[in-house]
């Protein structure tokens, strides 16, 4: 399948736009007096929720090209900027999140490029493992082995942006290192599988 029109998926775009609007409604509402309802109006909640969904959609497995990825980035940009600004995010937060989103986007594009013909189950599994396996591994390491597992949680495209958004004012660029490393590993895996599949000279 080489037709770009067929590879342009609308579902992620509509999801980002609709979820961004929902988070905007939550952050611009007058805070309720109750505890939980009041917390929902905190812009850092909108920031964490939106960034997690946005990054997941950027890192999702499947075939697509750079145009679609850039469109998704452009669509989410104002929401992230507004929520982060309202949360008091420092410049380091913006830089760290940009590094996370860019590395996972590139990893997803690398996986997409490796999927010639049938869907590449290996890279899909690698992305799924990074998204959901790493946080579980981090939790298990902290809970059962008494080993700090925050780096594993930060490495996931699902939970990494959530941890980053919890303290946007004191975030550091180093917070993005686990996610960048995990994305690089997934991209390398995709590259290896592509090299193995490609016919020799």
């Amino acid at each position: 399948m080489t037709d770009g029109a067929q590879r342009f998926s609308w579902v992620p775009l509509v999801t980002v736009a609709a979820f961004g609007a929902a988070c905007t409604a939550a952050a611009s509402a007058i805070p309720a007096s109750g505890g939980g309802a009041r917390r929902m109006a905190d812009p850092s909640i909108s920031l964490m929720a939106f960034d997690a969904v946005w990054t997941c959609l950027l890192a999702r497995p499947g075939r697509r090209d750079a145009v679609e990825t850039l469109t998704l980035v452009a669509l989410g940009l104002p929401f992230h900027a507004a929520f982060a600004g309202a949360s008091g995010a420092a410049g380091a937060h913006f830089a760290a999140f940009a590094a996370i989103a860019a590395s996972w986007s590139l990893a997803a594009l690398a996986c997409s490029a490796s999927a010639a013909g049938a869907p590449d189950r290996g890279t899909v599994a690698g992305l799924a493992l990074a998204a959901f396996g790493l946080p579980l591994a981090g939790y298990a390491a902290a809970e059962f082995l008494d080993v700090p597992g925050a780096a594993l949680v930060r490495a996931s495209p699902v939970t990494g942006p959530i941890l980053l958004g919890r303290s946007p004012g004191t975030a550091e660029l180093a917070d993005a290192v686990p996610a960048v490393a995990a994305a690089a590993a997934v991209a390398a895996l995709a590259g290896l599988r592509r090299a193995r599949r490609s016919p020799g000279p």
Partner: protein, 427 residues
Amino acid sequence: MNPGSRPNRRFRAAALTATWVVGVASAWAAPPAGPTEFPVGRTARPGRPVVVRVAGAAAVRIARGPWTAPSGGRGDEFLLPAPAAAGGPLEFEIRTGTDREIESRREDVRWLSASGTVRAVFTAEAARPVADGPVTVRVPSDGLPTLPEAWLQFDEVAPAPSSVPASVRDALDRWRALGQPPESARAAFQPWRAPPDASAYRAMDAAADATPALARDTAVALFLAAGAALVVAATLRGAAPRVRAFAVSAAPIAAAVWLLVTDRAVGESIVGTVLRVEGPHDVLVVLRLEGPGAGAAGRARVVPPPGAGAGAVVAFDESDAALDAVTLGPEIVVELAPGRTRLLAWREDPDDAAEPARSSDVGEPASPASSGGPTPLPAEVTAWLASKGLRPLPGLERTRGASAGPAPRTAGIRLRHFGAVRVAARK
């Protein structure tokens, strides 16, 4: 001979020379401040501001009060909040240059009664005190202050002689427009005459809790971006991918650029909440600054909008010990430790405010439909207004949005707008 004694002597000599050079350089860079001059006479009144001139001073304060930078038409007037209680000489602290060296002075003043009427007459005019009439104070005819708030020490001021400069005459005209004498309900709108007010802090805490985190214009921009993307997604399904990508991205990119250009995406560590109290003749603007949640202290800068009165700081109580972290003046600078709050306030003319404020005459509530509709006030805000002799107008308790009135220029602050409360005097 003690080994190393010669190098030690050399080191000591070099250190002494360096100290002497630094000392001479400091003295050269920051000449001592001049004498303390009182442009309206050596008088003070409890709870009323005091104005002084100190040549060469970078900042002046009355002990335990906020620092004040020079302001006024000549740029050499220091407007200082006076102590709430009368008694004894005023203890000044004067900062010169940038070396942070502070000089302390005690200046004898004549304390005027907090109550009653105090009338100022110019030295050229014959003062004729009348039994049971106002207390009369003679003020000089030259070197008079150009800040309207500098005249708040008085309740009446005699007509100025013709020799008074236009800037002083203008200040007196603006002072008269503030609505004297002190029994006037308009005194509630004058922050330079407000005593320490813990209830104002409670009210603004409640207002900050009830203020949306995302400004209305930001939310509108985001809704527009999302809506445009969804409409394009629904209508351009058959277009070429690059065309669709451009069409979908256009509105979000425009919104992102607008957020960046207008500093709405800048995450400052200090949160500011603005409340406007709009009366028929005056507007009181209260700005609550909340320090960073954690980490180092933050620094905020605020410049009230053109035409507004001088910005004042609201003390929490008589023993408020953190006022030295505030520097008042044309630009207000506040250093805020994590978790601390500070209230600033200034007065504005209703003419400076937006349309809703002009249409809020007492007893004639304007339609709030255009400004987002009224929402109930927190009880703490209502109680604070009542303590100032004000009541919110029925049906106009609060209108949301940043559109109510001109915004101050700020730096280092994430500004949020609680909205405007239209009030009338309590009957």
